[in-house]
């Protein structure tokens, strides 16, 4: 019986081996979504906990890494939904900052603000595609949607981002 079959049968040793093989990859994926190391660690633990509870539903001939990534993405999305709030724009820059630098910094703040105020299911697509430059296919697999659905979400997200940035006079 191989490792995945033993895991699906509920073997804790097999689960520990799989955990040690995949914990770093799961963490790396999640931290790109939540962008906070401590939260990403908690969500990595949550991901494996959910995987452990669902071991009987895992098909040993399936792709364990893709399955974990999907669980991790859902856990990260749950976190983003729970934490989703409109973050106020930060305070003004210190007075000694050069005008150009101040303008650039304000523009970056506005972009960050526009990003965090996107609905989580759109924000995740923007972060993974436009910032982390993950392929559409990988994002679709992680979200459990088709590539064209990812592109549609991206289109909607970009439209919202551009609108917000135009409102704040930031050239998108």
């Amino acid at each position: 019986m191989d490792l995945l079959q033993r895991f699906a049968a509920g073997d804790l040793d097999a689960f520990e081996s799989l955990f040690r093989q995949h914990q770093s990859a799961v963490y790396r994926w999640i931290v790109r979504i939540v962008r906070d190391p401590a939260t990403a660690e908690d969500l990595t633990v949550e991901t494996f906990w959910r995987a452990h509870r669902a071991h009987a539903r895992f098909r040993p001939d399936g792709n364990f890494e893709a399955w974990l990534r999907r669980i991790g993405t859902n856990a990260a999305l749950d976190h983003l939904r729970a934490a989703h709030a409109h973050v106020p724009l930060p305070e003004d820059l210190p007075a000694d900052a050069a005008p150009d630098a101040a303008e650039q910094s304000e523009s970056r703040k506005a972009i960050r603000f526009a990003l965090v105020s996107l609905p989580p299911r759109l924000r995740i697509v923007v972060q993974l595609r436009l910032i982390e430059e993950e392929p559409y296919r990988a994002i679709g697999e992680a979200l459990g949607i088709s590539e064209s659905a990812v592109k549609l979400r991206m289109f909607r997200a970009v439209r919202i981002l551009r609108k917000k940035l135009q409102q704040w006079s930031v050239r998108p």
Binding site: E16, F19, R20, Q23, S24, Y27, R28, V31, R32, R35, P37, A40, E41, T44, V45, E46, F48, W49, H52, S107, R108, K109, I111, R112, L115, V126, Q127, L130, I131, E132, E133, V158, R159, L161, R162, P172
Partner: protein, 73 residues
């Protein structure tokens, strides 16, 4: 939006939110997972299930009660 504008937006986003290329996990998370697995799961008391079942039965068999229920919520 054309490809060039899309690329420009991507560059602006990466300027404001730098990509995390190879973030590394600082330590082993297995002890934390073991701790989580050993925590008792939250159990819903049986009378809560009973109340939920009664409320569902009332809503199904006496839909006229829905406005009254909404009024008191």
């Amino acid at each position: 939006m054309n490809d060039r504008e899309f690329k420009e937006l991507g560059e602006k986003l990466r300027g404001a939110v730098p990509p995390l290329r190879q973030p590394e996990l600082g330590h082993d998370l297995w002890p934390a997972l073991l701790q989580k697995m050993s925590e008792p799961r939250v159990r819903v008391p049986w009378f809560d299930w009973l109340l939920a079942a009664l409320a569902a039965a009332v809503l199904i068999f006496c839909p006229g009660a829905i406005p009254a229920l909404l009024y008191h919520l």
